[in-house]
């Protein structure tokens, strides 16, 4: 386990350093955008005013309350202090709503949409890819071109087409919303069923593309493995195919797991298109609006969450990798 500890520590250190830099970037990036968010808020408040002196006062008032009149370093220090106490600040574009409130209402929808979509897409895709590699011939010839086509179909295209066919034309599924338009959220079965029904189209628009991508990847890896020497040797030795296949797919799965970690990182961004097309409540759309409204606190908070999620997912995957792949341990003594 000694070499393993070194591996573990190495990864942890890099995780930490990356986190710090990411933190910094999260703070700086939104503030580099041109335009003045305080002017935007003043504009909204000033609609209907006939004179401009009141406006100037309002403008300066808001600048002070957001701390935008202080130097960058002070703002950064304040930012760090606040984040660690769980206070993400007040949103500019939805003033005076606090950022944590905005996040808590939308983040669950995004995660519940994306997470199962990624996992299920991954599972089904890999199974299909593995089967295609193993069964070859007919099954493979059908699955392969379909997967290629589907995996590179643009996400918005898939969303629009699904909506037009199943929502507008056939009316099998609702075309917008997270739950029924006439329902108030509560614990009843009617509500839960409504959520599930509204969930289908956005979910499948993401999953289908994910399946395509995973299937291709898994198929290539599986073919590599199936043609490896140890497989041929085991076959000659008379070991049953079922047993061999277990090992083969375990080896083939390794790079796919790395891919899974990457997918989790794109989770929030990937749902953006689906959220817009289906009017699904979620973080992606909040982020887009925040960018358009130059809402520094909101942007920083969302990107911070994404960053942390990716880092943790990456770290977890690398830990699992270390456990599953004995070559890692061996490489540590290299």
């Amino acid at each position: 386990m000694k070499g393993y500890r070194k591996y573990f520590l190495n990864k942890l250190v890099w995780l930490f350093v990356t986190a710090v830099f990411a933190f910094l970037l999260n703070f700086i990036l939104p503030r580099l955008m041109p335009g003045d968010p305080v002017a935007a808020i003043t504009a909204r408040i000033a609609q209907g005013m006939s004179n401009s002196t009141g406006m100037k006062e309002t403008y300066e008032q808001y600048q002070r309350s957001f701390g935008l009149d202080k130097p960058m370093l002070t703002q950064f220090a304040l930012y760090i202090k606040n984040v660690f106490s769980g206070n993400f600040g007040t949103s500019f574009s939805q003033f005076p709503r606090p950022v944590s409130d905005i996040l808590s209402s939308s983040i669950w929808w995004t995660i519940c949409l994306q997470f199962p979509a990624i996992i299920i897409g991954w599972l089904i895709g890999n199974t299909l890819g593995a089967l295609a590699a193993y069964l070859k011939k007919g099954f493979d010839k059908v699955i392969m071109p379909i997967s290629i086509f589907v995996s590179n179909f643009p996400a918005f295209g898939m969303a629009v087409i699904l909506m037009v066919i199943f929502g507008v034309k056939l009316r099998w599924f609702p075309t917008s919303g997270g739950y029924g338009f006439d329902l108030i959220p509560d614990f009843s079965w009617k509500f839960i069923w409504s959520v599930i029904v509204h969930y289908q189209l956005p979910f499948w628009s993401i999953v289908i593309i994910a399946i395509g991508g995973q299937a291709i990847g898994m198929r290539s890896m599986s073919i590599y493995e199936l043609n490896a020497d140890y497989v041929k040797y085991s076959r000659f030795m008379g070991i049953k195919d079922n047993k061999i296949v277990g090992y083969v797919f375990r080896n083939a799965m390794l790079p796919q797991i790395t891919g899974l970690a990457l997918s989790i990182g794109t989770m929030v961004g990937g749902a953006l298109i689906a959220e817009i097309v289906f009017s699904y409540p979620g973080l992606g759309y909040t982020l887009l609006n925040a960018v358009m409204g130059q809402d520094y606190p909101l942007i920083s908070a969302v990107t911070l969450i994404i960053t942390l999620m990716v880092l943790i997912a990456n770290f977890a995957i690398e830990m699992i990798y270390g456990l599953i792949d004995p070559r890692i341990k061996a490489a540590q003594s290299d």
Binding site: T18, F149, N152, P154, I161, I299, T303
Partner: protein, 416 residues
């Protein structure tokens, strides 16, 4: 090399992908030569004209030769176009609401139905209907006026100087013109978009621009990825760690978010097609770097490399002549994938409204964007967005087919 090319062109998948791609490229290059119209010109005064042939009515009235043709079913078709089965049923419903007994109404006898309608219908009879329904019947009534008449039409012209109206032509119900003799006939194979632009012309130009953007983005991304991957893979040590660290940073901040932020910051006035391509290229080099690096790592301990090291060749020399050729096949495949993902990235940005300027060049993403803003997909104007989607899908599909074909050539294990 020749042998490789030979094999490549024998691979079924590659050939199919290559043909599709070449067909698209040919369309992009040759179509503007035959149809020199400006793709951004608003021809239609109105939005979303459906695909079809548009005949100028003024010219057909004034055509030099009128032909008189007697077709049996002409009258029937004329009536059916104004009075569908649905309309007849609705008339019957209205008449029943008005109090006429159902057995007196025969929807198959059009003239008696229309006579009954003319007698009974009045705009003021609301009969407890919703306003929308009332308006529907008003429109129906207006459209069936004079439906059964066998008279022709008279065309009058207002004399500018005297203000009188003079008859200049009569049109009989049996008059036809030969479309070839009409001065102005325009064929819109894909209709027009919300700006009144011809979609086919716009689509061809947009495909060309998107391909260019994809090419530039792909080249930039592959170049950066290749360089960084080679250096970090071969040199190793702390250089490797630093480059991997930077790569991780870029992974951690999702490229979509980065793209949105950068694109927004650049601002509309500087967002030309080339700038967008560069921005996309600069944010998508990550996985190429990783892939190249892992390939190089497995290569650097090979015998020929060790031999070169022992011979005292410089690092640059070794990378260039000993490692690069072995990963070329991989790099080409990566380039193709980068191009196709660059095209997709541009389309996604444009859909969000952060793409290149609308007035300069049309791109596939921008066409999708405007179609969605003007709600083409909801209003059933499929010609505004479906051809664009199919084009994007074809481009990416053909590139990926080529990629898969190449993959099979370079990795014989993957061949069927």
């Amino acid at each position: 090399m020749k042998n490789t090319l030979n094999q490549v062109f024998h691979s079924g998948k590659f050939v199919v992908g290559f043909c599709i791609f070449m067909a698209l490229l040919a369309m992009v290059i040759f179509y503007p030569l035959f149809v020199p119209d400006d793709p951004l010109e608003s021809i239609g005064k109105g939005t979303f004209f459906p695909p079809g042939t548009y005949v100028n009515i003024y010219d057909s009235i004034n055509a030099t030769t009128k032909y008189s043709i007697n077709l049996d079913d002409a009258t029937e078709k004329r009536i059916a176009s104004k009075l569908t089965e649905e309309n007849k049923k609705d008339m019957k419903t209205w008449l029943i609401m008005d109090g006429i007994p159902a057995d007196q109404i025969d929807t198959s006898d059009i003239s008696s139905l229309l006579k009954l309608w003319e007698n009974e219908y009045s705009k003021s009879k609301t009969l407890g209907m919703t306003y929308a329904k009332q308006r529907y019947y008003q429109r129906l009534n207006a459209s069936v006026q004079g439906l059964l008449s066998k008279e022709g039409l008279t065309v009058m012209q207002v004399d500018d100087s005297t203000g009188e109206t003079n008859e200049i032509a009569t049109i009989q119900q049996t008059d036809y013109v030969n479309v070839k003799q009409v001065a102005n006939v325009r064929w819109f194979p894909l209709g027009t978009d919300n700006f009144g632009r011809d979609i086919l012309t716009e689509l061809v130009t947009a495909a060309g621009v998107s391909l260019q953007i994809g090419l530039v983005a792909g080249l930039i991304a592959t170049f950066i990825g290749l360089t960084l991957g080679l250096i970090s893979g071969y040199v190793g040590g702390w250089v490797d760690d630093v480059i991997m660290f930077i790569t991780n940073l870029f992974t951690v901040i999702p490229s979509m978010v980065l793209l949105i932020l950068i694109s927004y910051s650049i601002g509309q006035d500087k967002r030309g097609a080339f700038t967008i391509a560069t921005v996309i290229g600069l944010t998508s080099w990550v996985w190429t770097t990783r892939a190249v690096r892992s390939q190089v790592i497995s290569l650097r301990n090979r015998d020929h490399v060790n031999l070169s090291k022992l011979s005292g060749h410089s690092t640059f020399n070794i990378i260039f002549s000993d490692i690069l050729p072995y990963i070329m096949s991989y790099v080409i495949m990566a380039l193709i994938l980068q191009i196709s993902s660059g095209i997709l990235a541009e389309a996604s940005l444009s859909i969000l409204g952060l793409g290149p300027r609308t007035t300069d060049v049309p791109t596939l993403g921008l066409m999708m964007n405007w179609a969605m803003i003007y709600q083409a997909h909801v209003l059933g104007k499929w010609w505004a967005y479906l051809p664009v989607l199919v084009t994007i899908a074809l481009i990416t599909f053909s590139m990926n087919l080529m990629n898969t074909g190449l993959d099979q050539v370079f990795n014989p294990a993957l061949r069927d």
